[in-house]
Structure formats: C-alpha cells, structure tokens
Amino acid sequence: MADFDAIVVGSGMSGGWSAKELAERGLKVLVLERGPEIVPDRDYTDTIPPWERPNLDRVPEEEIERHYPKQYGGVAYAIKETTKHFWVKDDEHPYEEAEGTRYDWLRGYHTGGRSIMWSRQAYRLGPQDFEANEREGVGVDWPVRYEDIAPWYDHVERFAGIAGSAEGLAQLPDGVFQPAFALTCAEEEFKARVEAAFPGRNVIPARVAHITAATEEQRALGRSNCRVRDRCEHGCVFRAYFSSLNATLPAARRTGNLTLVHNAIVQSIDYDPGTARVTGVRVIDAVSKRTRTYTTRVLFLNASTIASAMILLQSASEAFPNGLANRSDQVGRNLMDHVSGAGASGLIAGFENRTVFGRRPGGIYIPRYANITEHDKPYLRGFGFQGGGTPVGAGGGVAGIGRAFKEAHRAPAPWRVSIGAFGEQLPHPDNRVTLHPSRRDSWGNPIAVFDVTYGDNERIMLAEARKDAIAMLEAAGCTDIRSAEVDLTPPGNRIHEMGSARMGRDPATSVLNGWCQAHDVANLFVTDGSFMASSACQNPSLTYMAFSARAANHAADLMAEGGL
C-alpha cells in the first residue's frame, strides 16, 4: 500500500490549491516542500514600522553582490533587509544562461513559495486566449475552452477573495468579486478621457487578491479585510491577501488529511513500467542530505514551471529516456513569460488640492484591446497596461532648503499617471530550460540552463505599446509626458514563467491533456504554470489556481471510480 493517496510537490501558489482540494475530497495528502517552514508570527515583518527597519530597509551592498545578484537585479523593489529571507540566495542556487542570453529566475523556497511575495494582480484569461493558438496556427491548440475553466475560476475566486469591479468585458471576464479599490480622482479623469478618445479601450480598477468584504469561510480561517497598509511583501498578519500560507494550506490542514514536510527536495519520480504508473518520489533532505522515498497513488507536480520540468527531466528511465512523460520531447520547451519595458507617464492637472488616504494594493488596469476591439495591428495577440495615477511625492527631489523645502513635501502636488505594458509572449520550442550535463548543486541535482529569447512579435508589439501609451496620455490631456525608449525586460523578469510541459490534444506534441494529466502516465498531474499552452497577457496565477483545483477534483473523481 502506498504511504499516501496523493503527493503534492511544492507548497506554493498552485501546490496549496492541489493540497486543499485533494484533502477536502478525503484523500491523505503529503506536501513536500524543499524550503524551510515560514511561521507567520516569527517570519512576517509587516508590523515593523519604518524607523525600526535597519538601514532604511536596504540590504547591505556587499551582501547583495555575494548572495542576491540575480534576485536583486530582477526585483530590487522587493528585496529589502526585512524581506530578504523570502528570496533564494543565488550562490546557493545557481543556474546558467546560454551564451548571449539572459534569464531571470526569481524565486523563494519556503512554505507558500512565491504566493508570499507576489503582487496579487488576479485576472481571468478570456475565451480568445484559449482559441488563438488554433486560429493562428501557433504552438498547439489548448484542449480546453473558457467555458471549461469558468466554474473553477468562480471556485477559486470565492475562496481566495478578489477585489475587483464587474465590467462586462468579453476578453477579461468578470468573476466572483469583493468590492474593488476605487480609482483615484486622477484615474477617473484619465479613464473618462481615454475611453472617449478610444472607444474600444477601458480603464478599470486593478483586480487584486485582497479581501475587502470577508466571507464566513475566510473569517473561519482567521482572515480579515485588507487594512490598506502596502506591507504585503513582508507577509500579512491580517491574512488579507491570498497566499498558500494564509489560505489554502490552513484549509487543507483543518481536514486532518494534510502532512507537510519541509526541507524535502524532490529529486526524481519513480515510475513502474509494468503498470505505467508513478509509484513515488525520491527526496533529499535539504539540511541533513539524507535521502528517502515516499510512495503514492497519485502525484501532483507544483514545484513551479522550471522546477517541475527539471524533476521530469531528472526522472529519465528506460521507458522514458528523455525524461518522464516526455515522449513528445516538449518538457522544458516553449518557455514563456510576459514582456514589459514599454510605457509612459504624464502629469494630469486639476487635483493639486486633493490627495489619497491609505496605501492600496493595486492601481489601474487597461485590458487588452489589440486584436480584440482594434484590428489594425502589425503583431499577433496583445498586452494589458498596469499603472496608476497618484500625487507625486517630492521625495527630496525638489529645490529649496529649510522650512519651505520641508513643507514642500506636504504642499499641493501634481498628480502623475503612469502605465506600463505586460505583453503576451508566443510559445517557441527553442525557448527552453535543460539540465546542465555536468554541473550539480549542493544536493547533487543538475542545475538549470536557460536558452530563451524574444521574437519579432514581442519586439514589434512593445514598440507599438509605447506609442499607444503616449497617445493615451496625450488624449487624457497630460503634460510633461515621459517615456523611456523601449527596453524589453529580460525573459523571466516578469516572474510569470510558464509553458514547460504544455497541454494539448496530441500526445505526440504535448505533455499533458486538458486535465493537466500526463498523456503518458495516468496518475501524474502537473498543475503549476508548466501546463500553459500560451501565455495570454494577464497575470497568470489565478489561472494556475483554477486549473489546479479542477485537476485535483478530476483526479479525486478518477480515484473514486477506480480509474487511477
């Protein structure tokens, strides 16, 4: 008999969902997490006031050079003296990039994975996102359509808590929302002018995974409304934003069916060619380096897009010489992210005597209009803009000294609207992660080698996005419009990596079926971003959550029917 009904590898954004749903279906679940335990009372730093944060909350420069060159180089805004414990040290977790390429692999290993550090922007994909590959002959067709996943978006939104507004936009479907964070006065003005000048474009409040009207279910888990502090990167004692640690793992735990083991690095998966089933996983303890095997009836990979692909590649056997479930040779390929590096900002007049109170978690969103309401584009797909319009703080950057200078910081201030594009990246099989042929990490596992570049579509799209951004600011009557030359963010830098074990209809060209289930191995599911057959342009985590919940319930159904 197997040790567990189900093993979930990784306790992050998607793993938390797999664990919760499987445990709630009555299955005995083991979650294996490679990192240490995060204990909110000990490790959250959100209640430390600014004056108790050492050195203006800056990580010493030599420490950055030694331990965080990649992480800090990618997300300097998020790595502070009081948050650095949420990020991997690059010297302990090295990887390589193919000559002439750059890849930002930005991450944290601990309970909750990156659900602790994410920016919580939460959007559904729309019908067009599941249809575009087939229509345009790009990559492979998604084996699911929007209608298949819509009820699961409802399911995860209701539990997670998403603050958003119903807008009735076909390309960015509404969901189960709690009240949105209202637009600022400058954003309202910007919205009115942009929507008048460009009838197919909309400016809406960002949709964020924050509780603004806590439900009974959320309260029962110790969660309450967002206090608008802007301390999320440090954790949240109110558990107001969605993370595995704040929400799904406690829900899984209260079933009595969850076992969570930390410092458990999954190295490979055991496969029985006789039954064509996975039987368990091999684990090395991150601290003691002792190895052991856990057996299971069903396996969920939620180690994140890169790590899950690597585990499959590390699990080569006679039956699968290229890596487990990799008959299609697609594992590790088609790596996608979103691409930014185009945007603009401008001053918007008329609100100098107004200000905001509170520090909300998200600003504005301009849903994709390219190739949806506007069809004259020299590129495929499109982008959304994220941004906001708030008073400009003086921040020491104004002229003057003495009382006048001091008081300039609370004087009537101009407001600036800024928007930046998040564009879709098309899948390409040559954009891939592979195992280094010889270099190993401290636990004897091969390190990752990335070879990812953008294509013409991304480059042309972002150049157009910049023009659009400027045009919208002009239409809104902005002055002092600033827009840097387009400088594409390095692949990986948006931290939306996905696609490394894509789903599809044909086992010869895809790794997973529409249930995130391996074509070749019936009791193996991969429900982190690996399954994505295209990237769309919306922040993807909500979609990983919905597919994880759907796959977990499907697996539970199959097990109940004796089908696994």
Binding site: N55, E61, V228, G395, G396, I401, K406, H409
Partner: protein, 175 residues
Amino acid sequence: MISRRDVIRNLVISLGGSSLLSACGGRVTLQALAPDAGARFYGERELAVLSRVSDLLLPRTETPGALDVHVPALLDGLMAEWANAETRAQHRASLAALDEALGIRAGGDFLAAPDPVAERALAAVDADAFGGEPVEGYRDLKALVTQAYFATEGGAVDEQGWVAVPGRWDPCADR
C-alpha cells in the same frame, strides 16, 4: 534581526545625545560631534558638515527637524553597515565637494560661518543644483538626508502624518 535593530537604536541614542548643534550661537559645537562620541563612519568634519547641512535642509519647525531625529547618526550607520567601498568613497567625495562649495560661497570655513551666511551658502548651492550646475553628488545627498528623515518616527508620523494601519482607502481626499 532584532539584535541589529537594537544596535542601530543604541547608536542613534548615543550619537543623538551629543550631535546637536547649538541652535542659536551661530557656531557649531565641534567637540560634541567628535567620532569618539560614537560615529563609525564619518570623520569629525564630515559629521559636522552633514549635521549642519541636515539642519539647514530640514530644520525644527512645529515638527521635529533632521537633528531632532538624528539623521546624521542614521546615515553614519547606513554607511558603516550598508554601503560598499565604492558607495562609501562616493559619499565621502560628495560631502567633501559640498564642504568645499559651501566654503567658497560662505567666503571661508562653512562650519565657522554665522547661521545666515551658512544658510545663504547652502541656498546658493541648492539653486545651482536645480538650475543645472550641481555640485557633484549634492542632489543624491539631499535625497538621502530627506529619505532618512522621513523614515524616522518624527519625520514619518509628526511631519508626514504617516499611519501604520490606514484601515481604509480614500481615493480622493482633501489635502
């Protein structure tokens, strides 16, 4: 982390107690700023220049000034603990350049200049910096002093009205 915070707090207290400039005498009390009073990074003159500049930039008004909240001590800790060798050298060079520029405009030693003269000298350096002829590093230094000031309890709470737990979002409030 706790112990580091304590270290800083102690430093702030130890330096702060001794780093006040005499408010009305027009002359800086140099002895009180000596490194043996606790400075780990700044030399005696650097600390004195930084202190006087911080005070002129962000004086005590109805709310605390930069010296009340020990901005020089905070920057001393920042340079000692956070900065790497390159940043330290740059910071020293900026302070030296500022000292020199202030001296020229004050018609002698900036630290010895009476308050109105020192104030005019800094105002001139500041005007040049924002008028396109900056003393190397001055604007960054000014921003750093300001950032440090607003990161203190006095700067954040008393001057800026910062609240730890807003509890609500008002997207369009009266100033």
